[in-house]
């Protein structure tokens, strides 16, 4: 048994050098030589300045942009903290959302929840819905929807708010991805958002819709994976083609 210790120590060192230093160094050299763009992170520049990576999703909340999926990475699309929600199907938090008290004792949103996202997606994109309570009850003084009130209403144990979309909603629009950095959305999700984006940019919906196919990747080799629309690349093209009118 003890005579095995010598080779154990020596081979640990040998393999550390071979597979821990030489192998990754060789692969880095070859990768940067053959595929410099991919090896370097598929970074995207607009007019010379770095705006992100075509593979890494980023936050978009303004109406004039296509919105990505909800994200659980950090505070949303934090590329130093990739993660999903890790909430299961019987989680009240996942469906109804949760609120918490901030340090000043005000109730704020802790986690928005699928129902709250569904409300926003329906309203933002002008989709038909049914609500057990008129939504104007949840508006704040400026007339915007108050998420804290909504989440509290969804969580009401006696008579919870019931909100139903009347036209089928693609699930990627209201669920968080696994990485929290999903760069893509489903083509259906993009089509639904096109009208809102067009309105915000003062152009016809068909003009915006017409851009989507150009940024839609079909299944690889015709059968692998799903069709998908790259949100960042599509939004860059929007800015180029249909700049937002100055107010």
């Amino acid at each position: 048994m003890f005579k095995e210790l010598g080779p154990g120590l020596r081979l640990t060192l040998v393999f550390t050098i071979l597979t821990g230093l030489l192998y990754p160094a060789l692969m880095t050299g070859l990768s940067e030589l053959i595929f410099p763009k991919q090896a370097g992170g598929s970074l995207v520049r607009v007019n010379g300045s770095l705006v992100g990576s075509s593979l890494i999703g980023q936050s978009f909340a303004k109406p004039e942009y296509f919105h990505p999926r909800p994200s659980a990475a950090g505070n949303g699309y934090d590329a130093t903290a990739s993660n999903g929600t890790n909430l299961g199907p019987t989680s009240a938090k996942l469906l109804h959302g949760t609120t918490k008290m901030d340090d000043k004792g005000r109730e704020i949103v802790d986690f928005d929840g699928i129902e709250d996202r569904l409300v926003h997606y329906s309203i933002d994109n002008n989709l038909p819905y049914q609500s057990s309570v008129p939504l104007d009850r949840f508006q704040d003084s400026q007339g915007n929807l108050d998420d804290v009130k909504l989440i509290d209403a969804f969580n009401d144990p006696k008579s919870p708010l019931v909100f139903t979309a009347q036209r089928p909603i693609p699930p990627d629009a209201v669920t968080a991805s696994s990485s929290g950095l999903d760069p893509q959305i489903s083509p259906r999700n993009a089509e639904i958002q096109a009208a809102r984006v067009a309105r915000a940019r003062g152009v016809e919906p068909d003009q915006v819709k017409g851009l989507i196919p150009q940024f839609t990747e079909r299944a690889d080799w015709g059968f692998l994976g799903e069709p998908r629309v790259n949100v960042l690349l599509l939004n860059i093209e929007l800015d180029r083609k249909f700049p937002v009118p100055k107010k």
Binding site: M1, E4, L5, G6, G8, L11, T12, F15, L18, T19, G20, L21, Y23, P24, L26, M27, S31, E32, I34, F35, Q38, A39, G40, G41, L43, L50, V51, G52, S53, I56, A61, A73, T80, A81, S82, N83, G84, N86, L87, G88, T90, S91, L95, I114, T164, I169, P171, D172, T175, A176, S178, L181, D182, I185, S186, P187, F223, G225, E226, P227
Partner: protein, 595 residues
């Protein structure tokens, strides 16, 4: 389920079937020490390694010496990984400054218990990650500590499988090969060459491979976004090929840099199961009857399809509570439908569920979707795959030696039924082999169920070392049955040396770190040592001639017996625990109960 989804699953299986024989034959040549086409380059390097390591390649070992070598190697592996982590703050290539005062605010401290857990995790081929790599580890530790273990722990797994194959193939022999030679040859001739090619293919799809620090982009809406970089692809290749599964990033193979396209996803799944499938052919070839290998392959294939065809429809059917809110359930060609919580758009339901099944068929544990967010039955499949010791093609080497241990149990049960001394591929299976097989099967069950029970009821005092005060269940992200599933999955994953998780659990406390480390050690060594003991015992035996009374083990009857044994042993052991977790949760979900 859709036509395209089914086509992807079927084509994946057909490609796996197609590479089984050539890869199995190649591994047979490597294991026989025969010349391969890589000899001109690798043979001098191999000789140099033996010289540096002080190894004589012509001297074989008894099973006890073979075991001693593996334990010795594991001790030094442990020390290397542990110390490199603890000294990370002083090491180069750490652009995020982890383990230093300049670390970002969300960084995780590398405490002794966390470093211990991680060292055990990587040397046992588990790659359970109590830490989040994005916020804990620099490039140097990932490369020099973790990726090295990804190679050698995989090579050790193959070496054990090969030693067991020799046990069946040899007659009245005292030795079962040389551990150092096996580990070296499989690393050099199998793992490294495939990884070199696969790394480049993965980079071509968009995986990153560089030594640059994080880049800061200014997003279109204005705020900046810090995007981490690093030597990812080289580590990813061995993470999949060696069925290790520890991600370079926290979200593992769902991170777009770690799995950019459906094509890279397919490649990763094939790398994951390829060696496990090929080894069944190597086994058949070595014992002189390839149908013996195909019978084992057949049993694995049956269980593979059953798993996929439970997981895939469960996820496509999704959560009825979401459907009642007006969210699409069915696939329509322009949107995926189903349960997309914790799944990536590019993979959809089919490639996500296939990956979840495959990664737990083997002891890989890489994930391309968050298993914690699966529907109860969809999540039951990976959990049960792990609990039956990952014998469906399985981890590199580990899949075959675990399946052969089940084969010993199967022929023993078959022997009891017909009243004859059981035999398997010409060797009598006697008391010693059966005892060893039962130790292996029961020891993992003991730690999985034991630690799950303890963590479900334990309460911790305030200001204690072990855990935050209160119940250990406070570390969970979900309540009720799903929370219990998080604990059960964690200990199953540890003992199964899988490494995937119901990721909501916060396992970075001394209690979970140390119990999971013990769990992983039992799962690894209480399989390896019995497997080697069986190898030694079988190698010493004569070959028993086949008679009309011999239970044939190379046909469909044996496939049924073997599948039955695996499923029945697994179900008898875990059904009570599973019924408290995913099974009850399934009915709660159908009745719209939330917790």
């Amino acid at each position: 389920m859709t036509f395209l989804g089914l086509a992807q699953i079927l084509i994946f299986f057909l490609v796996l079937l197609a590479i089984t024989k050539p890869l199995g034959l190649y591994m047979y040549r490597v294991f026989q020490g025969e010349r391969t086409f890589l000899d001109p380059i690798l043979r001098p390097l191999e000789r140099l390694i033996y010289r540096l390591g002080g190894v004589r390649e012509d001297v074989e070992q008894s099973w006890v010496e073979y075991t001693g070598s593996i334990i010795s190697f594991s001790i030094f592996s442990f020390l290397a990984v542990y110390l490199l982590q603890r000294f990370q703050g002083h090491l180069p290539l750490n652009p995020m400054h982890f383990s230093t005062p300049r670390a970002p605010a969300n960084a995780t401290p590398l405490t002794p218990d966390l470093a211990f857990n991680t060292a055990v995790s990587f040397l046992t081929n588990t790659n359970w990650q109590s830490y989040s790599p994005d916020t804990t580890l620099g490039y140097f530790v990932q490369m020099v500590a973790l990726a090295v273990q990804n190679f050698v722990s995989a090579a050790v797994g193959i070496a054990v499988a090969v030693a067991l194959i020799r046990g069946f193939a040899r007659r009245t022999a005292k030795t079962i090969g040389n551990c150092w030679v096996d580990v070296t040859r499989y690393t050099l001739y199998l793992l490294l060459p495939i990884c070199v090619v696969a790394t480049l293919l993965l980079v071509s799809q968009g995986c990153i491979q560089n030594f640059r620090g994080p880049v800061t982009a200014t997003t279109l809406e204005g705020p900046s976004q810090v995007i981490e970089q690093g030597p990812l692809a080289s580590q990813l290749a061995i993470k999949m090929l060696g069925t290790n599964g520890g991600g370079f990033f926290n979200s593992n193979s769902s991170h777009p840099y770690e799995n950019p396209t459906p094509l890279s996803n397919m490649l990763q799944m094939l790398m994951l199961l390829g060696i496990g499938a090929g080894l069944t052919y190597t086994f058949g070839k070595a014992v002189g009857d390839t149908r013996q290998g195909w019978a084992v392959f057949g049993a694995m294939a049956v269980m593979f399809f059953v798993g996929v065809f439970i997981c895939y429809p469960s996820e496509q059917h999704g959560n009825p509570m979401l459907a009642s809110m007006g969210i699409e359930r069915a696939y329509t060609g322009s949107q995926p439908g189903g349960n997309m919580e914790g799944k990536e758009t590019r993979f959809g339901i089919a490639q996500s569920t296939l990956f979840a099944t495959v990664t737990t068929d083997a002891s890989c544990g890489a994930v391309n979707s968050m298993h914690d967010s699966y529907t109860p039955l969809g999540g039951l499949v990976p959990m049960f795959n792990i609990e039956t010791d990952e014998v469906i093609f399985g981890g590199v080497g580990a899949g075959l030696y675990s399946m052969l241990i089940y084969a010993v149990v199967a022929v023993f049960i078959g022997g009891l039924m017909v009243g004859r001394t059981p035999e398997y591929v010409g060797k009598k299976i006697e008391q010693k082999e059966v005892k060893m097989a039962i130790i292996a099967v029961l020891s993992t069950a003991l730690v999985i169920l034991g630690f799950t029970a303890l963590s479900s009821i334990a309460r911790f005092a305030p200001n204690g070392y072990w855990n935050a005060p209160g119940p250990a269940a406070a570390n969970l992200n979900n309540n009720a049955a799903h929370g219990f599933s998080e604990i059960l999955y964690a200990y199953s994953s540890g003992a199964g040396n899988n490494g995937s998780a119901f990721g909501g659990i916060n396992a970075d406390t001394p209690w979970y770190n140390l119990t999971l480390a013990l769990d992983m050690l039992v799962g690894r060594f209480f399989f390896i040592i019995p497997a080697l003991a069986i190898a030694g015992s079988l190698a010493a035996k004569k070959v028993t001639p086949t008679t009309s009374g011999t239970l044939p083990t190379n046909g469909s009857l044996f496939v049924v017996l073997l599948v039955g044994t695996v499923v029945i042993v697994g179900a008898l052991t875990y059904f009570p625990a599973l019924s408290l977790g995913p099974i009850v949760e399934h009915f709660q979900m159908l009745n719209g109960k939330l917790f």
